[in-house]
Subunit: 351 residues, 4 copies
């Protein structure tokens, strides 16, 4: 079967570059169009792009001519790494033009008719696209920090329910794009504030773990409190997490570890190309996970969990970590697209 | 009045060096003796010491001959920056020899007859020395991360009581001494584990804020849950904190800020030489405090608080930060000594 | 005598902020006006400025209203930390309006009638202002990396002459201003290129050490080869330097050290307020100078030299280091102003 | 053909770990024995080793029992990542026992009968083993910083000869092993001194490029001057280099680039498993190579060259960079072993 042509929106940005790296040899999708702001349009990708990946630009991609967001596109699937300042209108525009927009941007995540999906958890939410107002569709993945939290919470929530979660993040600089964080602000420093991040973390996981209803999604009824910080780490968001289970649930730490380690979902069942074999991996070393050391495990597609231990206020605490621009962004969107196609949803949009 | 001769135990270590910097021109104390391990003994301080401060060794101190822990000392007050592997026995040995040991080590902090003091909070605990078994005395200050937490909690506890506290720390490398943390472990990384640190943070604040009884100290009855991490920051421990007040207490954020900002204690009342004018300073900028930018405020002797905001699980959350080797270690011990002298406790040990 | 009112041009930038810190309690100059781009004008300095210093903005300065570069100024002396994209025309404009512009910008450094001065070396070059085309004047200091090189070369050149110099720099991020270098580019990295920097380093020292002639300055006849890199260091430019003396000159390393250490100039003779007691300090430790450890020595106004040793190609090699935004920028301009006033040149511009 | 069993000496160290990573799926060599200090002996490799690589320990290797340097070994080829404090005697001991020791240690590099080989340059020096005093043999690769310099110089030397070379290095922390450089020394800092490094760089390239004689190797007659520094970079040594060709040789920069880019050697001719297709790659971007961005190019086995430009003192200057623990250490030794086998030298030692 021939590969589906795809476009990358925001192709010169940090997430856009990661789309290029992850899609360059994809068995189902073929990079056909690269789209960026009008000032990049008309240039070759290698000219337009301040490439920051640790491998050279794939030769074929380097020579593609960048299109403008004003140009019509021919690819049926668009991966969007657009900046949130423009993604809101642009993605609607593309959906109106009949494209399936697989978006990493925050703008439409909480819309009542837009699925916010982590396919291991809630691929059935894709059905929401049938309610959308457009000939095309918009589907979204979560914020990067939410991703690892929601994945670690999913098996817990399914098994025991959750009352509340307290999370403190230590987020990598790559999450802020390029040029993003000034070196003057972060070298040898921690910045205890990321605009809008805590608000996103306090609502997104509940939608992902929520119940599909005719009107939208009933959020899962647990409370999240988040404190978000930026640290001088290149890739990999680390989070300290305390979880409070409903009264009466006091599983052993071993039982929690077993539930996390053995959790599998639809991407594993279907062996989707980008699916990690083990979506959550519990590390036993006392000082792991660590961003610099573990971020490339399982090609950056797993959530790593460590330091599971009882908590004197909640029920247990743990440390979680994942690759913020792979599973937390471009890789999440690609896995969404693979799941969307595998489940047959894409068929109605084929042309 | 002539200055009191003092000795520094563990003088070549990170905390010992900070004692030298902070005491070099002290109005009440005069560095008379420097004590280190036998392999340093007999050398000049400048030869024995791998000096890591950002100012040269004071000339007079550089030329002092280092004594061994096996040598008898003549100074009535000893500042101990000894490593915890040796501090336990050594400090008892010196107390038996009649010295007042002002210790920064963890070994005796939780002993029933040893005061664990932050003079702004519980200088009345110094009375416990009268119960000690030795001709001399041991007084201690808290762990560096506990210091900033206990200070930020003290006015809250006094005003409203506290039910529980969740804290995640991001601790500077200088807290691990020298050579301490390998650059291979921390460059561009976060290590989510510091041996023994969480255990200390979960019990020390309660003793400091506890009630003096004939048998010791009744710990304050709140619960602390701590998650401790190491980050690539030189000086300054940053902590994200959620505080739960007892039911019925819902102060406004402005009221909390006012209580923190206006808090003063005995060191301020007596204008002790090392006392910060304002022990807690609430910063209003949305992204502060930051270690690299704020660690030198108030000569490193304040606890800085920022981002006070409501918390959906507890009552409010905040970010706190302080200089781990100044207020969190050497400066804390020096302020303890100043308070101990000012309150007359030292008089019984004068010779 | 009352203090001379001064203005700071480019007051919100990195160099502008350093001017504020260094001039806040200056005995001769009083900060009267702060000037920035039109979008900052009309705001208080604390609102207009993204303050990056490790001490708070002085209260009086924080409340000054920022003026626009389009506004007329009343201060006779202007310290310019303007970006080179605007400094060229703006400084001429101010000189035409009768101001003495003490500039840190590169634009006019090599003009035939503009003195490029390090007052320890060539304060007699100030006489060039009498040839300038304007009622006011422009005087300049060198590029930050040139500063430490020129200072270290001056006593050598005076004593033995110089045939050639090879220098490799490792420059701090603060030299690029704010936001300047993206953290994505420099964290755990070295960037072996700084636009225009090598060109400046290869010509400026020769003008500073050159001979005043009726037409301008005859450059000193030695050759400089420079390789400039950016490293993840906050403050402090480090340089490895090989010096080739003319044939027949083979001083011992001790002789070179003595010549450097004992060198003094006009700022020391006159005890100018910002003058370091010792302009060049030779360190004897085998692994110094180091930016993080030595950058604050002598208040950042000295050039530090270490590792003097014979060189198998040139005559000797060494490592030099200095504070790039103090002696390498704002402090250099202030010392120039102090020297300019002390030598009576300012008298003709007083109003 | 079955694979040759090999042992790794110093298997738990930084270079030893890199040997494990690079040899885990080698077509010719099979890891049979892991050797470390007596205190590691008897443990499984995963217990004995503080693993610092960014991928997990290969499972089979993790379970191997570590042997002591006192144990007899059965593998005919030993890769030595031993610390230089013990490598001198230990390697002789193994050579006396009949083993071929492929050493990365400095101890025997300059011995008159020990080949110091970069197989692209001087694989004919392997013949020196026939002169060795032992039933086995010792062959060595160069110091990590010398590696990239010697490779970049080889085609130049061959084409035009070389008069002198000035090099300044900026070396990664991984070059110092583990725990190696304290984070207190290098975070946000540059240390302008690495013990013994400049001495090695000033003599090794001349032996590698020298002429084999009956008595040993006549060193190539050019002069090297080196200044070595440590920077806060994880992997990748960067070097600024000025090269002076003999008078009369003034090739264009394009000609130099062409000579470097087109250079090939015996490992390329024989398609050795670890040989890079292109041993030297000239990058055209103005700000490359950079360690964090380019260190993994060509699997870390190439020397990357950038910023070729004329030099006002020498003939031209450039920036070079390579992976210090791959091509600069473990990878160099493995390529040496592959070349040694391919050229038939190993046949006399087979058992």
């Amino acid at each position: 079967m021939s590969r589906i042509p795809i476009a990358i929106l925001g192709a010169t940005g940090t997430v856009g570059q990661k789309f290029v790296v992850l899609l360059q040899e994809h068995p189902q999708f073929e990079i056909a169009e690269l789209v960026a702001s009008p000032r990049s349009a008309g240039k070759s990708y290698s000219e337009a792009c301040s490439w920051k990946q640790d491998q050279p630009i794939p030769r074929r991609i380097a020579e593609l001519t960048v299109k403008s967001t004003a140009d019509p596109l021919s690819s049926p699937i668009l991966f969007s790494g657009l900046d949130s300042s423009v993604a809101g209108d642009a993605e609607v525009h593309y959906a109106e033009a009949g494209h399936v927009v697989i978006s990493n941007s925050r703008n439409h995540r909480m819309d009542a008719d837009v699925p916010l999906v982590i396919p291991e958890i809630n691929s059935h939410h894709f059905e929401m696209v049938s309610r959308q107002r457009w000939p095309g569709a918009i589907i979204t993945n979560s914020n990067c920090s939410t991703m690892f939290l929601a994945m670690a919470l999913a098996p817990i929530h399914e098994q025991w329910g959750i009352e509340w979660v307290q999370v403190t993040t230590m987020q990598a600089i790559s999450g802020a794009g390029y040029p993003g964080v000034s070196s003057m602000d972060i070298l040898g420093n921690v910045v205890p504030y990321i605009s809008g991040e805590e608000e996103k973390m306090e609502i997104e996981a509940q939608k992902i773990l929520g119940t599909l209803t005719p009107e939208g999604v009933d959020p899962a009824p647990f409370v999240v409190s988040a404190a978000c910080t930026r640290v001088p780490v290149f890739d990999g968001h680390l989070e300290t997490v305390t979880v409070k289970l409903p009264s009466g649930n006091e599983p052993t730490i071993d039982a929690v570890a077993e539930v996390l380690n053995s959790w599998r979902g639809m991407p594993q069942d279907r062996s989707l190309p980008s699916a990690p074999v083990q979506p959550i991996e519990v590390l036993s070393e006392p000082d792991r996970p660590q961003p610099a050391r573990d971020v490339f495990r399982n090609k950056g597609m797993s959530t790593l969990v460590g330091r599971l231990r009882p908590d004197p206020i909640g029920t247990f605490k743990m440390v979680i970590m994942g690759h913020n621009t792979v599973r937390g962004a471009a890789g999440a969107a690609i896995l969404n697209a693979e799941a969307f196609v595998a489940l047959g949803h894409f068929d109605r949009y084929r042309r």
